[in-house]
């Protein structure tokens, strides 16, 4: 270990040119030990003497060419780990260039960019070293020491690192910086919500990997407060369990979205919006970033107030596949990047719209479709028409359709082109005359069929009529688009 630290962050700059030698000052400012020399022979001497990790060298450095220099140093066991950044002309070739380690920098170069490249080189190196010396300092089982105790020990010792936990199939991590929990993760949930859930784990294995974790800080409160709050919520949850809705309960909104009372608290609003797509309490808990206890309490209030009601088992939907496996294969073949048939891939279904209302109406028809996974950004967005993903339809094990909303106004027309990649199809929402130009564009220039969709039933002779819980219509619509990939008309049973 001592050798690693003494190697430190030493950089050798070898060049007869001003531009490269001038890098010395900013590098020193960034905390690197910098050694400069103006010829290859000197560079060789310096690198053999000092343990340095990186040499930035001009290809045509005098006395000893960079290529030769690198060759000599790589052959020496003391310096074989060195990386080289070669600075040279366009089209220069360097014998023995190692793509994974060395870099070629074109002259003239931007100082800041070179600095960034050097910083990222050392960053990467540090991480590799961390991984390689990752010795499990503490391991054990939660039966013997509870998570709370464990965290308090780490807190007292002001530890940096990641606490990994496993319980059966479940995996979780708690990230610590200077003894404070900065983030936690269980499955797809992160932040305080995840941390509070973890506090209820009473058995399982854990191990601690020291080192400063690279993670976004999502928890800001001090450890003591965090633990107290978590334990309080756990206790109360246990006490009130009987009166709170259970995870299997199915709920439904009694008032439509646009008739919701004004001035709701943000959390309440969020839950109500999510409820448009998720009916089971368990799903709501998974998808809402608020702590579980808070959600359950809110749901109870909403139930009491009558905004939400409990529904009995929904009628089992006949499980009609949205796309048959032949269709999925045809689509993947069409977009195939080599032999990626087994990898998960996505294709885009563009939704052309003139206003956000049309997009919302379309999204509502997908409620209750188990394959539909809405995007939280979209759920929480305002009433102005934006662009981007509103969600995904997981049509097969390895294929998902991205539902991608694109404004149809001509002022935004330059945006139509860049999203033409991997197009499953285009759907025009509604019958606004403003859609016409965009439809012509996609049919004419992009050669993609555009299907009109009607979600309100106002113009029944115009394209596909989609309604909530009408799985057949959705299947018909997708089969129609997929026929372009299979080269055959949609299967008879869906028409």
């Amino acid at each position: 270990m001592a050798a690693v630290t003494s190697k430190g962050k030493t950089v050798i700059l070898a060049s007869a040119r001003e531009a490269l030698l001038k890098m010395e000052e900013p590098l020193c400012q960034q905390g690197y030990a910098v050694q400069i020399c103006s010829d290859g022979a000197k560079a060789l001497e310096l690198s053999l003497r000092s343990f340095c990790a990186l040499m930035v060298v001009d290809c045509d450095v005098p006395l000893l060419a960079a290529e030769k220099l690198a060759q000599i140093l790589r052959a020496n066991p003391r310096t074989e780990g060195m990386a080289f950044f070669f600075v040279g002309q366009e089209g220069e070739e360097i014998a023995g260039f190692r793509r994974h380690k060395d870099q070629f920098i074109l002259r003239p170069f931007n100082r800041e960019q070179l600095l960034t490249a050097i910083a990222s080189f050392f960053g990467r190196r540090e991480r590799t070293e961390q991984v390689s010396r990752q010795d499990r300092e503490v391991t054990g089982s939660l039966d013997q020491i509870s998570l709370v105790d464990l965290l308090q020990v780490f807190g007292l010792n002001r530890k940096d690192g990641v606490l990994q936990l496993t319980r059966g199939e479940e995996r979780a991590s708690v990230y610590l910086v200077e003894g404070c929990v900065v983030n936690a993760r269980v499955g797809r949930v992160s932040g305080e919500k995840a941390f509070f859930r973890l506090l209820s784990w009473e058995n399982g294995k854990f191990w601690f990997a020291p080192g400063v974790p690279e993670i976004e800080t999502q928890i800001a409160s001090p450890l003591d407060h965090l633990l107290m709050e978590g334990l309080r919520q756990l206790d109360e949850l246990a006490a009130q369990r009987s009166s709170l809705p259970s995870a299997e309960t199915l709920l439904t909104l009694k008032v439509p979205r646009d008739r919701l009372p004004r001035g709701l608290r943000p959390t309440t609003q969020e839950i109500l919006l999510l409820m448009e797509y998720y009916q089971q309490v368990g799903d709501l808990l998974e998808h809402c970033p608020r702590p579980d206890f808070e959600i359950l309490q809110l749901l109870k209030v909403l139930l009491d107030k009558g905004l939400v009601e409990e529904v009995q088992q929904v009628p089992a939907v006949e499980h009609l596949p949205l796309l048959t496996s032949e269709e999925v294969i045809a689509v993947k073949d069409f977009f195939g990047e080599g032999d990626a048939l087994l990898e998960t891939a996505s294709a885009k279904l563009i939704l052309l719209a003139c206003d956000q209302g049309a997009v919302r109406a379309f999204a509502q028809t997908l409620q209750g479709v188990p394959e539909f996974e809405p995007e939280s950004d979209f759920l929480l967005s305002g009433d102005t028409l934006g662009l981007g993903d509103i969600g995904r339809l997981l049509v097969g094990e390895t294929l998902s359709l991205r539902l991608f909303c694109l404004p149809a106004a001509t002022a935004t027309s330059p945006l139509w082109t860049p999203f033409r990649r991997r197009l499953f199809g285009v759907a025009a929402l509604g019958d606004d005359p403003g859609l016409q130009e965009a439809i012509a564009f996609f049919e004419g220039t992009a050669h993609v069929p555009v299907v009109r969709i009607d979600c309100n039933g106002t113009s029944p002779n115009h394209g596909h009529l989609l309604r909530r819980n009408d799985r057949k219509a959705l299947r018909r619509f997708l089969a129609d688009l997929a026929s372009r990939f299979t080269g055959e008309p949609p299967p008879a049973e869906v028409i």
């Binding site: 800041e112 960019q113 002022a411 330059p414 945006l415 860049p418 990649r421």
Partner: protein, 629 residues
């Protein structure tokens, strides 16, 4: 001619005249000396086959003379004549290396017999030495020939050059050598190979021999130049000069010598025939596969080759790109210049383009103003990189001058890739032509932005705030001066909420993460790096993608632990005034420039591929960014 040269030494006139008369009568050349010192004087001036000396001489005696002569010429045959019969003296003389020993009085027949014998023996020895020397030289020459034989087996010009130079350096014990081969038209010689420590000065890539040098070349023999420190070795086949070699830096001695020249000439002879055959072969190939003048291939060859490559591509899943290169103002140039000048310009243009291509790329001429380049194993992105390289190589070189002013040759290029754009040569050509048409209509061509800087172009597009009218209903009015930049569905002025920019950027990042293999580059000008980073939210998918995202501007230098999202701090007021987003990938491009008006952004956006491509390269040049494309 005399039968032999004899020097006779005797202090008695009688014997001297006896020698003279007797030996001259037999056809020998005879000189006489009265004393040892006189004899030595004679030997200094002339060479003799035999020295005949009396044993008893005043001053130096016979033995002393023998010793003195031996000192000057150890091989000298010496015969001693003496009046006394003294065995010990005779033994002493024989020890000194005297060939024969004769007693006075002299019997003429005996004397002649002995002299004949000595001279015969001497000539035998000489003959033997000569044969030995000849044999040695013969063996050495044979070794040189052997080494040079390999030249004839090489069919690649560069390799031949290297081998010739290496052999020369080895045989002459020199540390450096360079070869220039005659160029098109035979006016100049172009540097082809350079080995060892050869020093080629900046202007020497192309040698333009003056009359003296031309004479040296036509002589066809190696010449010592620079006071013997270099050898100038012409390669002359008959009367046709093929090239010039310069050998430098003799090892272990200051100068090259005559022997070196001889060896060099010998090697040159071989090298010349090998080079001659090779050039002939190349010419033959050129005549059948390439257009008569210049380095471009004929279409027949090209078509055939591309079809084969396409088969290969289909079978093994390989990629291939085709670049269409058009001289846009060929007709105009044709009106202005002589055909000969125009043709020469085209030839040199093709040569320049070839310097930017890789060895496996093939350039063919499909019309006087149209060329096709096939890039094997290259996708569309790679072909864009090639085009950029060609543009760079042509910069400053694509002009034609008449007496009054110079005219630039306008070169336009566009490419199509297999299998994305089509499966046959015709389809690919069609796609490339369509793209070329679009390029002609590109904002960059239409508005003649060619010579402007990045910010110059941006300022011109965005105009001044007074040129926009923000209507209350959210629509945007733009002054007449600016609407010229607009193009139906491709380039528009836009007004949007400020957050929309982040939303667009986020969506692009999402696209990148969903198709990670597509190569591309995103440039975003920003005021604060951290704010932009935050708005990107999920960035995990980006790290494993083939797209680089650069954030430019910022308030200060920041370091992030990310390979793909790279902040580059640039202190420039412009980044604070104008935000921009440029996205270029293998298929599409998008660019947006806007200025803040209240909580809205007002600006211009476009999906004009050629425009974005050029703007990005302007940006890279301006801030010396490493070119990703």
């Amino acid at each position: 001619m005399a039968k032999g040269r004899i020097l006779a030494i005797d202090n008695e006139e009688f014997f001297r005249s006896l020698y003279r008369d007797l030996l001259r009568g037999e056809g020998y050349y005879v000189r006489t000396a009265t004393s040892g010192s006189e004899a030595l004087e004679c030997l200094r001036g002339e060479e003799f086959d035999l020295v005949v000396t009396d044993m008893h001489l005043p001053g130096l005696d016979g033995l002393a003379v023998t010793e003195a002569v031996r000192r000057v010429n150890p091989d000298q045959e010496i015969m001693i004549v003496t009046g006394q019969q003294d065995v010990s003296l005779a033994v002493e003389a024989m020890k000194q290396g005297v060939s024969e020993y004769l007693l006075k009085p002299i019997n003429p027949d005996e004397l002649l017999l002995v002299i004949n014998k000595v001279l015969f023996r001497q000539s035998l020895g000489r003959e033997h030495r000569r044969l030995l020397d000849e044999n040695l030289e013969f063996v050495a020459t044979l070794a040189y020939y052997r080494r040079c034989l390999i030249f004839l087996q090489i069919h690649d010009l560069d390799r031949l050059g290297d081998v010739v130079l290496d052999n020369l350096m080895d045989l002459l014990r020199a540390e450096g050598a360079a070869l220039w081969v005659i160029g098109f038209g035979g006016h100049n010689y172009r540097l082809r190979c350079r080995r060892g420590l050869a020093q080629v000065a900046a202007g020497e890539e192309s040698l333009q021999p003056d009359s003296g040098e031309r004479q040296m070349i036509l002589n066809g023999k190696g010449v010592l130049t620079a006071g013997g420190r270099t050898i100038f070795l012409p390669l002359l086949a008959g009367l046709e000069p093929l090239g010039v070699i310069r050998i430098e830096a003799p090892v272990g001695r200051e100068h090259f010598n005559r022997r070196d020249l001889k060896v060099a000439d010998l090697v040159a002879e071989f090298a010349t025939s090998a080079l001659y055959n090779l050039l002939l072969y190349r010419k033959l190939e050129q005549d059948s596969l390439r257009v008569p003048r210049g380095e471009a291939y004929t279409m027949a060859f090209f078509r055939d080759h591309v079809v084969k490559e396409l088969h290969k591509g289909r079978r093994y899943g390989r990629r291939l790109s085709l670049v269409l290169l058009v001289i846009e103002n060929y007709a105009e140039l044709g009106n202005r210049f002589l055909d000969r000048d125009l043709e020469a310009a085209m030839v040199s243009l093709v040569e320049t383009v070839n310097t930017a291509l890789r060895d496996a790329d093939i350039l063919a001429m499909s019309g006087p103003d149209e060329y096709l380049i096939m890039l094997p194993e290259t996708d569309y992105w790679g072909s864009l990189v090639t085009q950029k390289r060609i543009r760079k190589a042509l910069r400053g070189k694509s002009t034609l001058c008449d007496l009054k002013k110079s005219h630039s040759i306008e070169v336009l290029m566009r490419s199509a890739a297999f299998p994305a754009d089509g499966g046959t040569l015709e389809e690919l050509l069609h796609v490339a032509e369509r793209r070329l048409d679009r390029l002609r209509g590109s904002l960059f061509q239409r508005s003649r932005l060619g010579a402007m800087s990045f910010w110059g172009i941006v300022d011109r597009l965005l105009g001044t705030p007074a040129q926009y009218h923000l209507e209350a209903d959210g629509s945007l009015g733009v002054a007449e001066l600016l609407t010229g930049h607009e193009e139906d569905l491709r380039s528009r002025y836009i007004r949007m909420p400020e957050e929309r920019l982040d939303e667009v950027m986020r969506t692009f990042c999402r696209e990148v993460a969903e198709s990670p293999r597509i190569r591309g580059v995103i440039y975003r000008g920003c005021v604060d790096f951290d704010v932009v980073r935050k708005c990107l939210r999920k960035t995990e998918g980006l790290e494993s993608s083939a797209t680089s995202i650069y954030l430019l501007g910022g308030r200060r230098r920041v370091t992030w632990d990310s390979q793909r999202i790279v902040p580059i701090y640039i202190e420039d007021e412009n980044f604070r005034k104008t935000v921009f987003l440029l996205y270029l990938n293998e298929d599409f491009a998008y660019g947006l420039f806007a200025r803040k008006r209240g909580s809205e952004l007002v600006g211009f956006h476009t999906s004009d591929f050629y425009f974005i491509e050029n703007l990005i390269s302007r940006l890279q040049e301006q801030y010396q960014l490493q070119a990703q494309i």
